[in-house]
C-alpha cells in the first residue's frame, strides 16, 4: 500500500519545480544547488487516493555531507520501503553524474520512478537520450519531463504505480558503479556536435578569475541600480500618490469625525503634526503603520526580491561564490556562505535557514552570527534609505560601510576564537538558465505573499501596543531605566530606548518610531547602525535558537549585545 511519494535527486535538478507541479504547493525554486534545505509536504491525487508528496533537499549520494543532506539521507534510511515511491529526478543535461544516486537507490531496494527533467535544455545542448533503452537498462520506469513548462508531468503521475523494487544480486562498489554508469551513458546518450553558443561562452568566462570579476562587478552594480530605480519608482509613482491623495482625504474625514483627539484618535490616526496628518510622524494604526509597510518598505522588498529571483534563476550566485571563496576563508567560512548572506539581505530568517548548506556546525555558528549582526534585512535597509537618504548618499553609504567592516572584523575574530577548521569549498556550478518571466514572477509572488503575511500582523500589533503604552505613559519607567545608557554611551535621547526595544518586534517599525524624535543626522546614523547590529527581530531570534541550539544561540546573542555596545559608543565618540 503506497502512502507517500518522495522526491529525491541531486541538488539543482528541479525537484522543487516538479514538486510544485505535482502538488500545486508553491515553493521557492532557484538555479543553484541547495535552494531547498528543509522538507516540504504536499498532496497529490492519484486515482482518487490522496498521496503525501515530500520534497527533499538535494543529495549526491546516500552519504551525506551537509546538514541539509543529512536530513534527507536520514529520512530515506528510515522510511518504510513498501509504503513509499521514490521519484528520482535527474538532470538530463548531466545524466552521468545523476545516475550515481539512481543506482544507489535502486540497489537499496526502493521503488523508483525516474523523472528525466530538463529535457528541453538537453535538446538545446545537443544531447539526445534514448529513454526506452535507459528504461530497459535500469529496469525502472523513466519519464522525460520539462517541469518548468509542465511537459511530461501527467505521464509521470500516470506511471507512478508501475514502480516496484528490483531484486538485485549485489551492491556495487563505488568504483564498479561508476563503471556501470559509463557503460549505460555510452549506450543511451548521443551527443551531436555543435558550435559554442553565446551562453556557453558566458558560462565559461564567468568561472575564470578575470571574466568572473568583471561580470560580477557589472552584475552587482546593475542589481543595485535596478533595486533603487524600481524601489524609488514604485514609491514616487504609485504608493506616495495613493497615500497622499485618496487615502489621506479619507483619513482627514475620519480624524475630524473623531474630533481630532481622544484615545481612539490617538490609536488610529496618532498625533497631528502642525494640525495635519503626517504619515511619517503621526504613529497611528491607520497612518504611519500602513505607510511604513506599504510606501516605504514594500517597494524595496518587491524590487529586491525581483532582482534576487532573477540572479538565482540565471545561476549567477555560485559563480559569485567562487570570487569570494578566498575572502570568506579568512572568516572561517567558504565561498558558498555568500548565498545565506545574500538571502539575509532580504530577510535574516531564510538567510539563517540557508546556512544549512554549510558543512560544519562551526561554520553555521559563524555565518548565522555574522548574518544577524552585519546583514540588515531589506525592510531595515528601506527605512534607513527613508530616514538618512535626504541627508545624502554619504550617510547611507556610511551605514553600509560600518556594517561591512564590522562583518569582516567580527568574522576574523570569530574565526580565530572558535575552535575547529573550515571545510573546503566543493560545489557544482550550474549552467546559466533563462527561465520564463512567468516563473520569476511567480517566485516573486510567493515571497511577497510570505512577507506580507509575516510582517503586517506584527507591524500593526507593534504600533498598536506602542500607542497604548505611549498614551498611558507606561514607557516612562522603562526609558528612565535605560536613559543613562543610551545618552551616555550612544548620545541618543531617552525616547530612542523605545525604538530600540520595538526593534525586537520589527526593525522597520522601530525606524518609523525614530522619525518624530527629530534626531540629528549623527544620532540617526548611530541608531541605524545600532538597530542593524544589536538585536535581531523576534522571528530571526526564534530561528537562530532553533538552528543553533541553546548554547550557541546564547553565544551569538552575547556577541550581538557586546558588539552593539562597543560600536554604538565608538561611533558616538568618533563622529564629530
Amino acid at each position: 500500500m503506497i502512502k507517500r511519494v518522495y522526491l529525491v535527486g541531486n541538488p539543482n535538478v528541479g525537484k522543487s519545480v516538479v514538486f510544485s507541479r505535482l502538488t500545486g504547493v508553491e515553493v521557492i525554486a532557484s538555479n543553484y544547488p541547495g535552494t531547498t534545505v528543509e522538507f516540504t509536504k504536499g498532496y497529490l491525487n492519484l486515482e482518487g487516493e490522496k498521496l503525501e508528496v515530500i520534497d527533499l533537499p538535494g543529495i549526491y549520494s546516500l552519504e551525506p555531507t551537509s546538514k541539509a543532506e543529512e536530513v534527507a539521507v536520514k529520512l530515506l534510511n528510515e522510511l518504510p520501503k513498501d509504503e513509499s515511491i521514490i521519484i528520482n529526478i535527474l538532470d538530463a543535461t548531466n545524466l552521468e553524474r545523476n545516475l550515481f544516486l539512481t543506482l544507489q537507490l535502486i540497489e537499496e531496494g526502493f521503488c523508483v520512478v525516474i523523472c528525466l527533467n530538463m529535457c528541453d535544455d538537453a535538446k538545446h545542448r545537443g544531447i539526445d537520450i534514448d529513454i526506452k533503452k535507459l528504461e530497459a537498462l535500469l529496469g525502472v520506469p523513466v519519464i522525460s519531463t520539462c517541469a518548468v513548462t509542465g511537459l511530461g508531468i501527467k505521464t509521470l503521475i500516470e506511471r507512478l504505480k508501475e514502480a516496484k523494487p528490483l531484486t538485485l544480486s549485489e551492491k556495487l562498489t563505488h568504483q564498479k558503479r561508476w563503471q556501470k554508469i559509463g557503460e549505460i551513458v555510452e549506450s543511451v546518450q548521443h551527443l551531436s556536435h555543435r558550435h559554442h553558443t553565446l551562453r556557453e561562452l558566458l558560462e565559461d568566462a564567468s568561472v575564470r578569475p578575470l571574466g568572473g570579476f568583471f561580470i560580477s562587478l557589472g552584475v552587482i552594480y546593475l542589481s543595485f541600480k535596478l533595486v533603487r530605480f524600481l524601489g524609488e519608482g514604485l514609491i514616487n509613482k504609485i504608493f506616495d500618490p495613493l497615500f497622499f491623495g485618496p487615502y489621506k482625504s479619507l483619513l482627514i474625514n475620519l480624524s475630524n469625525f473623531l474630533g481630532q483627539k481622544g484615545f481612539l484618535h490617538h490609536i488610529l490616526i496618532g498625533e497631528l503634526i502642525k494640525g495635519e496628518i503626517d504619515f511619517r510622524q503621526s504613529l497611528g494604526l491607520l497612518t504611519t503603520a500602513p505607510y511604513v509597510e506599504f510606501a516605504m518598505v514594500l517597494p524595496y522588498v518587491l524590487a529586491f526580491y525581483l532582482v534576487l529571483g532573477i540572479l538565482e534563476d540565471i545561476g549567477f550566485l555560485p559563480r559569485f561564490a567562487l570570487l569570494l571563496d578566498n575572502l570568506l576563508h579568512r572568516l572561517g567560512l567558504h565561498g558558498y556562505a555568500i548565498i545565506p548572506v545574500l538571502l539575509g539581505l532580504g530577510c535574516n530568517v531564510p538567510g539563517i535557514l540557508a546556512t544549512r548548506i554549510l558543512e560544519s556546525k562551526r561554520e553555521r555558528l559563524i555565518a548565522s552570527t555574522l548574518i544577524s549582526i552585519g546583514v540588515p534585512c531589506v525592510a531595515l535597509q528601506a527605512m534607513i534609505f527613508g530616514i538618512l537618504g535626504k541627508f545624502g548618499g554619504f550617510y547611507v553609504g556610511g551605514v553600509y560601510l560600518v556594517l561591512f567592516s564590522l562583518w569582516l572584523i567580527l568574522g576574523l575574530i570569530l574565526n580565530a576564537f572558535f575552535k575547529g577548521y573550515s571545510p573546503e569549498l566543493l560545489i557544482e556550478i550550474p549552467p546559466y538558465r533563462f527561465p520564463p518571466l512567468l516563473v520569476i514572477l511567480k517566485k516573486l509572488y510567493i515571497r511577497i505573499k510570505g512577507f506580507l503575511f509575516e510582517a503586517l500582523p506584527i507591524v500593526f500589533l507593534g504600533v498598536l501596543l506602542v500607542n497604548i503604552f505611549l498614551y498611558f505613559g507606561w514607557f516612562d519607567f522603562f526609558t528612565g531605566l535605560f536613559s543613562g545608557l543610551v545618552k551616555g554611551l550612544f548620545g541618543l535621547p531617552k525616547e530612542a530606548v523605545i525604538a530600540l526595544a520595538v526593534g525586537f518586534l520589527r526593525k522597520d517599525v522601530a525606524v518609523g518610531m525614530l522619525v518624530p524624535l527629530n534626531l540629528t543626522v549623527k544620532q540617526l546614523f548611530i541608531v541605524s547602525c545600532l538597530l542593524a547590529i544589536s538585536f535581531p527581530c523576534i522571528a530571526t531570534f526564534i530561528v537562530l535558537w532553533k538552528e543553533l541550539g541553546f548554547k550557541d544561540f546564547l553565544k551569538a546573542t552575547l556577541i550581538m549585545l557586546f558588539v552593539g555596545l562597543i560600536v554604538g559608543s565608538l561611533l558616538n565618540f568618533f563622529i564629530p
Binding site: 545524466l95 561508476w178 565559461d204 578569475p209 567558504h334 569549498l425 556550478i429
Partner: protein, 77 residues
Amino acid sequence: MRRLSLVHLKENQKAKVVEVLGGIGIKQRLLSLGIYPGRELTKISHFALRGPVTVKVGRATLALGYGMAQKILVEII
C-alpha cells in the same frame, strides 16, 4: 608519467585522476560528484591567492577549494 596536483595543472589541460589523498570523508564526497581515480577531467580555471579551482568533469562544472584541489593527484594526458 609525471603526477601533479590539480592546483599545478594548467588551465585547459586534460588529465586523468590517479589518486585522491585524504580521509574517507573527502574521498566519498568527491566520488559522489564523479571525481575518482581513473576519471578524466579538464581544468578550467584557477583563482589567484590560493583561490578555488574549477574543473569540467563529464558535463558538470565543479569548483573545489584550494586545499581540496591539492589533494587530487592527476596525470596529464
